[in-house]
C-alpha cells in the first residue's frame, strides 16, 4: 500500500547508506528531485544502478554518495562525457568508484528478470564484445534445446527503485506515459520504491493498456511538480536541452561544480523544481 509522504521523509525512510539504488527513467522522467534529496541527506556508499547515468549520477558521484556504479551508457546525451564521473574514474576525486559495465540490452533484460522473479536474464548478446573480459557478471549458458550459446547476467533487484511519473491517484496507483523505459520493471524488481509525481488526481483515467503501477507495488509517493527537470514529463514540460548543454562547463571544474551544488541543491528544497519548469 503506497504511503503519501514528503520527498524528505520518503528518502529518509527508504534509502539507507550502503543500499543499491536504481533511479530510472530513460531520458524521460528522470527523478532529479529525488536524487537531489538524497544528496542533501548525505547518503554514502550507495551502489547506483542506471542504464544511462546522465546528470543525476554525475551529481551524486561528484558529491561523494556513490561506492559503485552499474550502468550501460555514461554520457551527457548529445553533449559529451560525464565529467564528474570521469574525474572519479580517472583521478579518484572525490574518491574512485567501482564500475560494473553492461550493454543496454543486458541491463534491460536484467531488470525484466528481476521483475519476473528469475535469478538471471538470458539473451543473445555481447557477441565478440570485450565487456565480457572485464565484467565477471557476464557469463554464458547453452540453450538445452538448440545448443546455441547465449549471454547471461544476474537479475537486477535493487534495494530501492526510484522513478518520476506523471500522476498518482488518491489510492496511490501510478500512471506513466510516453517513453516508459524500464521504470515498470525497475519498481517491480526493487524491494522498496519511491515514486515522485507531477500531480495527484482523483481519477487516472487510464486506457486499458496504459502503463500503470498498482498502489500495492509502490512503497512511497511524493508529489514534486517539475521533479524530473532538466529531464521532462511528457504532457507537462519538455526536456530542457539548454540546461544539459550548460551543465558541461559547470561539471568540468571541481570548484564550479561544488559552488553550483551548494546554490542549486544544498540550499534549496524540492519545491524549487516547480519554478524550474515554468515557461519551458
Amino acid at each position: 500500500m503506497a504511503k503519501f509522504q514528503s520527498l524528505h521523509d520518503a528518502v529518509a525512510e527508504n534509502i539507507r547508506d550502503g543500499d543499491t539504488v536504481a533511479y530510472e527513467g530513460f531520458t524521460h522522467l528522470i527523478p532529479h528531485a529525488a536524487a537531489h534529496e538524497t544528496i542533501r541527506q548525505k547518503r554514502r556508499d550507495l551502489t547506483l544502478v542506471r542504464m544511462t547515468p546522465d546528470l543525476i549520477y554525475d551529481q551524486l558521484i561528484g558529491m561523494g554518495c556513490a561506492r559503485k556504479l552499474i550502468f550501460s551508457f555514461a554520457g551527457n546525451p548529445g553533449v559529451g562525457l560525464l565529467r564528474r564521473l570521469r574525474d572519479s574514474v580517472e583521478n579518484g576525486w572525490p574518491h574512485k568508484i567501482e564500475i560494473e559495465e553492461h550493454s543496454h540490452a543486458a541491463m534491460a533484460n536484467a531488470y525484466e528478470a528481476g521483475a519476473a522473479g528469475l535469478p538471471c536474464a538470458i539473451f543473445r548478446g555481447y557477441l565478440g564484445a570485450e565487456l565480457k573480459r572485464v565484467n565477471p557478471n557476464i557469463k554464458s549458458v547453452t540453450c538445452p534445446f538448440t545448443g546455441e550459446e547465449l549471454a547471461a547476467v544476474p537479475a537486477m533487484n535493487p534495494d530501492v527503485g526510484v522513478i518520476h511519473a506523471q500522476k498518482a491517484d488518491r489510492q496511490g496507483n501510478v500512471l506513466i506515459e510516453g517513453i516508459v523505459g524500464v521504470q515498470k520493471e525497475c519498481i517491480l524488481a526493487s524491494k522498496r520504491s519511491i515514486v515522485t509525481v507531477e500531480e495527484i488526481v482523483d481519477d487516472l483515467n487510464p486506457h486499458p493498456n496504459a502503463c500503470v503501477l498498482p498502489h500495492w507495488t509502490v512503497t512511497s509517493i511524493a508529489q514534486v511538480t517539475g521533479g524530473a527537470h532538466p529531464s521532462y514529463a511528457q504532457g507537462y514540460y519538455p526536456r530542457d536541452n539548454k540546461y544539459y548543454i550548460d551543465w558541461d562547463p559547470i561539471a568540468a571544474d571541481r570548484d564550479a561544480f561544488l559552488a553550483w551544488m551548494e546554490e542549486n541543491v544544498l540550499k534549496v528544497g524540492p519545491e524549487i523544481f516547480a519554478s524550474r519548469v515554468e515557461g519551458l
Binding site: F26, T27, H28, M51, T52, F71, S72, F73, A74, G75, P77, G78, V79, L81, L82, L85, R86, V89, E90, E101, S103, H104, A105, A108, N109, Y111, E112, F123, R124, G125, Y126, L127, G128, A129, E130, L131, V134, E148, E149, G178, I179, V180, G181, V182, K184, E185, C211, Y232, Q234, P238, R239, N241, K242, Y244, I245
Partner: protein, 257 residues
C-alpha cells in the same frame, strides 16, 4: 552550392539508406543522416531509436536518444526491454546506424575507453545499445569523421564487434548478420573487401586526395580497383539538411549543431 566536408558526410550517409529500410538510429551523426534520408529520398523509412520509439518522424534532431519529439511523432512507443528483445534481438531491423570514437579497418568499434580499462586515460560513455545492435541488425552502416585518433590500427577496446580480425571470423563465431557493410566519412565511402573484410575505399568525395586520406587514417589504406567520385550534395540535399540543423539549433536553445 558550396558545402562543408561534414555536410558531404551526412549526405553520403543519408544516400546509403533505402525507403524500405527499418533503421536503428544512433545519436549524433547517424541521426542527422537518417532524418535527412527521410526528408529527401526515403520518406517511408522506418526510424527506430533505442528509447522505444518506432517509426518516428522528428521535426528537429533530438539532442538525446529519448527527446519528447521522438515519442510525439512516433507510430508507437514500446518499453526499453521490449525494444531490445522483440524488435532488435527478434531480427526485425535491417540497418543499424552507428558512430564511433575509435574504429579499426575491420569495422570493430570502441566507445568505451582510451587507454587501459581499469585506469583509463579517457573514460568514454560506453556501449549503450551498440554491442547488440552490431550483431542483431541485418547490416551495419558507420559514419564518422576521419582523424588519426579515430581511425586507428588497433582500437583500445572492442565495444562493438565488426569483423574481428577479418575474413570469416564473424561466421565462425556463429553470427548470422552481415556486419559493417558501409562506412561514410567526411572524405570517402568505404566498403569491406568481400574476402578479407578490410574496409576499402570505393569512392572519394570531390577534391579529396589520397595524400589527405593517408594523413587522416592510422593504417595503410586499401583502394578498390576503380575508385569512384562521390557526386557532390545536390541543392535539395543541402537545403533540407541546413533547414533541419537550423530548426534543431533554435529548438535546443542556441546550440550550434
Amino acid at each position: 552550392m558550396d558545402y562543408k566536408p561534414d555536410e558531404m558526410m551526412t549526405v553520403a550517409a543519408a544516400r546509403a539508406l533505402k525507403n524500405s529500410d527499418v533503421c536503428f538510429v544512433g545519436i549524433g551523426a547517424p541521426s542527422a543522416a537518417c532524418n535527412l534520408a527521410r526528408l529527401t529520398h526515403a520518406p517511408d523509412i522506418t526510424l527506430i531509436y533505442e528509447s522505444g520509439t518506432i517509426n518516428t518522424k522528428p521535426n528537429v534532431l533530438p539532442l538525446s536518444i529519448g527527446d519528447g519529439e521522438l515519442c510525439e511523432t512516433a507510430l508507437t512507443t514500446v518499453s526499453v526491454p521490449e525494444m531490445f528483445r522483440y524488435w532488435l534481438q527478434g531480427g526485425r531491423i535491417t540497418i543499424g546506424f552507428l558512430g564511433a570514437a575509435q574504429l579499426d579497418k575491420f569495422g570493430n568499434i570502441n566507445t568505451t575507453i582510451v587507454g587501459d580499462y581499469d585506469s583509463p586515460k579517457v573514460r568514454l560513455p560506453g556501449g549503450g545499445g551498440a554491442p547488440e545492435i552490431a550483431v542483431s541488425c541485418g547490416e551495419i552502416f558507420i559514419t564518422l569523421k576521419q582523424t588519426p585518433r579515430g581511425m586507428v590500427d588497433k582500437i583500445d577496446f572492442v565495444t562493438s564487434f565488426g569483423f574481428g580480425k577479418g575474413g570469416d571470423e564473424r561466421e565462425r563465431m556463429g553470427i548470422k548478420t552481415k556486419g559493417p557493410s558501409r562506412l561514410m566519412t567526411d572524405l570517402a565511402i568505404w566498403e569491406p573487401d568481400p574476402v578479407t573484410k578490410e574496409f576499402t575505399v570505393t569512392s572519394l568525395h570531390p577534391g579529396v586526395t589520397r595524400a589527405q586520406m593517408a594523413e587522416t587514417v592510422g593504417w595503410e589504406i586499401k583502394y578498390a580497383d576503380s575508385v569512384a567520385e562521390t557526386p557532390p550534395p545536390t541543392e535539395e540535399e543541402l537545403t533540407v539538411l541546413r533547414d533541419l540543423k537550423a530548426r534543431t539549433a533554435a529548438a535546443h536553445g542556441g546550440k550550434t549543431a
